[in-house]
């Protein structure tokens, strides 16, 4: 694990571990519920990304806006979205982040700057460009962060967005979560060069390749990119290299993932690795760590039971939120 001076505070490390663990635990439970057929939703696990998400949580403030993807659980938690609202959305309940109308791919929480999530690969990037333009027009001082996978670097929207951001020197941070798989295809099979940070350098913006399993390295890289954006000094591209520790979805087969590769990655599983380090460095004692862990488990359990206890949206909700005024939509219906 990298260290730097001055390192994050004791409190910060605690928050980071808590966030990593919350992410991992909520993730595992969501996948298990999906596998059991109790959660009837496409769920995209975030296992492997916990370190990056913890760093995002530490660096970002409410006024910084984030655009995320379908693989958004860690991002949402990092931004401060309550797990209760997230889970209620996954279960299609009216108390979900999106009144149950969006579902797991469409979480949002405007109160904490979790602006939007999209289910279409790459489509968050142009939106982040626009948000960063808005921040710049507002006078600056905040960062827009967009997260996306390695596979998203193949799509046109990525290119266009990087270009706009560089041209207009926009306060945006491109966070590429390189888990080395684009759905079921390994990066080396779809990319002529797997050095994504290096490729991105052609856009005339700073780009950094970061060990995405190392929370402190993630923290340092993100902090400087976000600071740069807050000072309105322009965009940064960060490539966080880690590994997908699960299947593509909560229920997907991933027997095709090379066993050794996965095992090697598993050795660096962010939350347990960080735990070990925190203890080894005597930053926390075993009982302190266990206290966090029990707190996390309670928090996650509560969110799931809350979600399942929430009411469903009323039938009339079908017609609202298409337009601001539901009259015309209602008039088209026989029902």
């Amino acid at each position: 694990m990298s260290t730097q001076t001055p390192g994050p505070s004791h409190e910060a490390l605690k928050r980071m571990y808590r966030l990593m663990l919350t992410t991992a635990v909520a993730d595992q439970k969501s996948s298990a519920e999906a596998k059991a057929g109790r959660l009837a939703a496409a769920f995209y696990p975030v296992r492997g990304m916990e370190a990056v998400c913890a760093a995002l949580g530490e660096v970002l403030r409410s006024e910084d806006r984030m655009v995320s993807t379908y693989r958004n659980l860690g991002d949402a938690l990092a931004k401060g979205v309550p797990l209760r609202s997230i889970m209620a959305e996954l279960y299609g309940r009216v108390d979900g982040t999106s009144r149950g109308k969006g579902g797991p791919m469409h979480l949002q929480d405007q109160s904490v700057g979790f602006t939007a999530t999209t289910g279409v690969v790459g489509s968050g990037m142009p939106i982040a460009v626009g948000l960063a333009m808005a921040a710049q027009l507002d006078g600056g001082g905040s960062a827009t962060v967009v997260t996306f996978g390695d596979g998203a670097t193949s799509i046109g929207a990525y290119h266009e967005s990087m270009n706009f951001a560089a041209l207009w020197n926009l306060p945006v941070v491109f966070v590429c979560q390189n888990n080395q798989w684009g759905e079921h295809t390994p990066i080396a099979q779809y990319a002529p060069s797997t050095e994504l940070a290096q490729r991105a350098a052609s856009y005339n913006m700073p780009t950094v390749k970061v060990d995405g399993f190392d929370p402190l390295a993630c923290l340092a890289a993100l902090q400087s990119a976000v600071d740069r954006a807050r000072r309105d000094e322009g965009p940064t591209f960060l490539e966080f290299v880690h590994y997908r520790l699960t299947g593509h979805t909560g229920t997907a087969d991933y027997s095709y993932v090379p066993k050794e590769e996965l095992a090697k990655a598993m050795e660096r599983d962010p939350a347990p690795t960080f735990r070990k380090w925190l203890l080894e460095q005597s930053i926390f004692s075993e009982p302190e760590v266990e206290a966090i862990e029990s707190e996390v488990r309670t928090y996650v359990e509560d969110a799931f039971s809350y979600a399942e206890s929430c009411p469903f949206p009323a039938p009339e909700e079908l017609y609202t939120d298409v337009f601001a005024d539901p009259t015309f939509v209602r008039s088209l219906s026989d029902a």
Binding site: S98, K101, G102, H106, V120, P126, M133, A134, D138, F323
Partner: protein, 325 residues
């Protein structure tokens, strides 16, 4: 209000000036829109000088991200306009406009409306088949976005200002064949033309012609010609296609008991098919003839001036005569 005679292009330009003066959250993005060009159709003339290049930005050629950046600006509290030079190029924006902007209010349970205004222009056959499509039906079929298409300078300005203040995303369609040919008095000040309100531009007792855009001039010409054979046609300019003023349409057809829908969009599954279906559903037993439709024939837009797939005055006259006889 003081009025000036303007082309549609000038009226749109005047609309932009009024809107940007009134609301400093309005920003415009598009190719070549800043000075010295002011847009290839001159509709953004003077804007970048008056309001600055930060609010009126000429962009790289990248329609998807012009639209996507507009979506982001809207989520960030701005009122963005994304100019897409030709309607055909909206094919490059549909993920952002129809998967995102049109659905963001719904998918967030109301939290993130994305009121962008996408403006675009239908070309003519001089440019060939990739610069002349009328694609409003795609947008009307996809819930969550307003669709307007003015036929004259006054509406052109008023509808633009309406889109720019609507809480919902809008598609604003202009037609290059009208931009400079239609002139008329236009108030210099700020005003809006309501969404979902059709205008009856000619009264008549024998048949209702429902139309919009280039179809309006065409239908009025046809109506004049039809008086010769004693047929008085009522002509309705829909102006806004989503929401669509079915009330005005039904009220008129209830009186005339006959109807034809005219538009430049392809007839097959064009806007006229929905209007026709609803008239039959709602006025069953009251019609004297089936609702007729005159739209583009089922072909790409041919280049040669010897060929046209678009509605003509003749085709409208013939169809009306067929229905009224």
């Amino acid at each position: 209000m003081p009025e000036t005679t303007m082309t549609m292009a000038a009226a749109i330009n005047s609309g932009f000036h009024c809107a940007m003066e009134a609301d400093d959250k309005i920003v415009v993005l598009g190719e070549d829109i800043a000075e010295p060009i002011g847009g290839v159709f001159k509709t953004s003339k003077g804007l970048s000088t008056r309001f600055g290049e930060r609010r009126v930005r000429s962009t790289p050629i990248a329609e998807g991200t012009i639209a996507g950046a507009a979506v982001g600006l809207a989520l960030g509290g701005y009122r963005p306009v994304a100019e897409i030079m030709f309607f055909d190029f909206v094919t490059l924006t549909l993920d952002q406009v129809l998967n995102h902007a049109a659905k963001f209010r719904y998918m967030s349970g109301g939290a993130t409306p994305a009121p962008i205004t996408m403006t675009t222009t239908i070309g003519t056959s001089h440019f060939g088949a990739q610069h002349a499509q009328s694609l409003e039906a795609w947008f009307m079929h996809t819930p969550g976005i307003n669709v307007v298409m003015p036929s004259n300078p006054v509406d052109a300005k008023g509808l633009l200002l309406t889109c720019l203040t609507s809480p919902d995303p809008s598609l604003y369609i202009q037609h290059s064949a009208l931009l400079y040919s239609r002139k008329g008095p236009v108030p210099e000040e700020y005003y809006t033309t309501p969404l979902g309100k059709a205008a009856t531009v000619r009264s008549g007792r024998d048949i209702t012609v429902v139309t919009y855009g280039t179809g309006v001039g065409l239908s009025l010409e046809a109506a004049e010609e039809l008086t010769g054979s004693g047929i008085e046609a009522e002509v309705i300019d829909l102006r806004s296609l989503m929401p669509l003023d079915f009330g005005t349409v039904f009220e008129s057809v209830e009186r005339t008991r006959r109807c034809v829908v005219v538009h430049e969009a392809t007839q097959f599954l064009g806007p006229g098919s929905e209007i026709s279906s609803r008239i039959h559903e709602n006025l069953w037993g009251e019609l004297l003839a089936p609702v007729g439709r005159v739209g583009a024939e089922f072909t790409p837009v041919p280049f040669s001036k010897a060929l046209t797939n678009h509605p003509t005055v003749d085709r409208v006259v013939k169809k009306v005569q067929e229905l009224v006889c």
